[in-house]
Amino acid sequence: MTCRSWLYCPGNDPGKITQAALYGADGIILDLEDSVAAEEKLDARELVAEALRSFDFGEAQLCVRINSLETTWWEEDLRAILRSPDRVPLVRIPKVESPETVASAAALVAEIERAAGRQPGTVRFQCIVETPRGVEKAYSIVTSSSRIDSVSFGAEDYCAQTGASRSPAAKALDFARSRLVNAAGAAAITVYDTVWGAFRDMEGLRDDAKRAREIGFDGKSAVHPDQVALINEIFTPSEQERSWAKRVIDAFDGEGAGSRGVAAVEGQMIDAPVVARARRILASPGVRDGG
């Protein structure tokens, strides 16, 4: 499912965990990485594992951001969060710079799946690309494993390394953003934009989210509950887009274009990729829920 919004939730904060699903975010990221101090990693891991095992998050898609593979924590993170037999979260892997990072994670996950008697490939990844090297290798990263569900851009670390400005809709980020969107498009996976950290600056969020949408991102992460409604609004297909999507589907299905692989809508040729885009629009949570 494509999520318009992903809400980060600190993994060692029980109050925030129990309320995370109430703000309307399509996805929730239980975080074991940056929002958890080193001395609390073990506590957070157990808390997230128990929450995954038994807490009702409603309709929200669940994701856990583990610690980077450069730390000593990531292996225990995976073992803990994949303990629950019933609920398997998406695994968000930070600071992915190469296909080798994905391969290392995939190897351990395969071992965990085998030990649990789970179908291989059940556990899916969302890679965060947040460095210049990662941006350079974007396509090879996103195509390195069939486990990869989606990719996310992380601007904070990227700007720290490149010196680019982190202002709303900063042109300096267009290259990195576009490269990721392009790679995701080529791999036919979803792509999510970075957070806007200044959570009281709603105008800045609006500009940043709109730019991300224009470039082609499918959704965006949020660091604060107040950001969710605005992000959902911007990433919900407009009435025009929905109506276009319906016309495309009707034309493609109606004209029996399946065998020819092409149809026409208002003088424009439409083919499978266009139809796929139309179907994604109609499958968006905002459209499905009548929003």
Binding site: P14, G15, L42, D43, R45, E46, L47, E50, F55
Partner: protein
Amino acid sequence: MGTAVRSGTPAKHDALVEIIRDGERSTDTGAAITIDSPVAPLFGAYQRAAVEAGLTGQPVRAIRVSVHDNHALDFVLRARVKAAMRKLVLMEGMP
């Protein structure tokens, strides 16, 4: 009395769990559990069951478990107990 390990905080929705291996009770096989909670009259049985669930399968010989609860749900209590036990095991050098 050994060194206490802790997990959790006194913040709302959380529980601070302290566990200590009590050498004076070395012949006792089980855990001595105390739970201090503003909602104990309402949820005491659930809280007790959650703490015991967190101790299941753990080396609980002669341990004292003190839970200072502040409206934590059961999964939080279980997690904090498991995390504290994990810290005790690591401290004692067990696998």
